[in-house]
Amino acid sequence: MDSANISLKPEAFSDLDWEKIRADFPILKLKIDGKPLIYLDNAASSQMPQQVIDRLVRYQTTQHANINRAVHYLSEVATMEYHKARCRLQQFINAREDREIIFTSGTTDSINLVMHGYGRKFIKAGDEIILTTLEHHSNIVPWQMLANEKGAKIRVVPINDKGELEVDEYEKLFNERTKFVGLIHVSNALGTINPIKRMIDFAHQHGVPVLIDGAQAAPHIIVDVQALDCDFYAFSAHKLCGPTGVGILYGKAALLEAMQPFKGGGDMIASVSFEKTTYNTIPHKFEAGTPPIAAAIGFGAAIDYLMAIGIKSIAAYELALLDYATECLNEIPGVRIIGTAAEKTAVISFTIDGIHPHDIGTILNQDGIAVRTGHHCAQPVMQRFKVPATSRASFAFYNRKTEVDALIAGIKTVQKVFL
């Protein structure tokens, strides 16, 4: 495996030297108009450590060719490295087999794959699809498109005032027409961690498959797809310190085999004539065309990096930041935190009385502080809390406590400007 080329070793961080880990991220040394960058937009996209950048450079400078095709040296190397990346992902989420890992262009692509491959084949007029209020638009819109096409119906699980799913209401939505559940593991807008194990088990009692949108969960929570028993699990590399343009769909092999292909093209076929095409086996059936080879290999290197630190250590560190930031924000008059679930990842959505989130974002940017402002591609969540938008600070393991202090000072500056 590539771990030999990754300088990071678990024992090197037995004392959890987070400053040393932070130093792996060259972009964090940037200055924005003379102010040090304070990057608190990790839920949108995380930054990349030098180890992953180096892996991309090494691939591109010594290993690149197209895969699964030629017999020449480079093609064999690239094919092998791409396969190794798939195996790293399999290991990362504890899938039974490597063929259950499909490389996609990201979470959105993964969900669309399930909609086209599973939904269009198995969901019929009158069937019901259960989604939740917390879903990102990427786990709403594809299902609406399917529902419109088939005459199926979307049912929505409500949330309480803390931003937690009302699981009792979820259970009441099931009936003989329920055919699919789409469920976000961690809310990107609020940080709520949903009780997905219980919800998957309940769906399975009714024979209904469950897709988990894990985009916000995989960077912060240990995901074991066998223990969860989910049918599909999707996430993107760029939220896990990897490159953009690549993600995975995990699917149970039997389901993937029963599904129809999503995209047609090269690599996804066994044989083609103008009369008939025979499709390739999984995972190739779902990987038409030349895949993002470099990005997938970078994804594998990012997984190596994160596993060397340990998701458990990462989660513990980030939760300490979350607790500290929550405490500080609660002390500022006029600041309201949206989403106060008992179980959260290090995401804080907030509003400031009388000040529009876009003005907050622009003024914080003046101090080099990067937060997200807007509806976070989760308009149903915004509507539930009756706000047009929020500001969102989302933390990663390379953020410092002093950066939380800078955010708090920045918010006070915003309030002063608008005084």
Partner: protein
């Protein structure tokens, strides 16, 4: 720094105490402007008589930049001819997108405090939305969107 000049006193003043805020009971022209990217929404009503804007008002939910731009716009076009308003709309759009040379003669006056917006591409639409909506209202188009620059011309009159 761009932001400091952007949020200078005059903009904040118009945000706190917007001029011509509300809705005219008897409007000859009306349009709703919408920025789907950030959810800003603006409702403009005006009375046009003999090609002169006798009265104008706006209301809606928006950020400080958008609200101040709307407030200053209504103050600038009230009592002016339709042609004057259209010249201002054109010049303001050019200003916000960095195409206007403010050292050359123009009619914007204090509105040039919005010149810094050109350095913040994500906020340009906030400043332009009121002007876009005014253009739609003058053209008797009910709805304007920052995501459809041709809307002011493309839709036929409904009033």
């Amino acid at each position: 720094m761009v932001t400091k000049s952007l949020y200078q006193e005059v903009i904040l003043d118009h945000n706190r105490k917007p001029r011509n805020y509300g809705k005219l009971d008897y409007a000859s022209h009306h349009a709703v402007g919408h920025n789907p990217l950030c959810g800003d929404r603006l409702d403009i009503t005006l009375q046009l008589e003999n090609d002169q804007i006798n009265n104008i008002a706006f209301e809606g939910e928006s950020c400080a930049i958008c609200k101040a731009s709307a407030s200053m716009m209504t103050a600038a076009v009230k009592g002016r001819s339709r042609l004057d308003a259209e010249i201002l709309i054109h010049e303001f759009r050019e200003l916000a997108t960095g195409k206007l040379d403010i050292d050359h003669p123009h009619h914007l006056g204090r509105l040039t405090i919005f010149s810094g917006i050109r350095d913040l591409p994500t906020r340009v639409k906030c400043a332009i939305l009121p002007w876009h909506t005014l253009q739609a209202a003058l053209n008797s188009i009910d709805n304007a969107s920052t995501e459809n620059n041709d809307s002011a011309q493309a839709v036929s009159s409904k009033l």
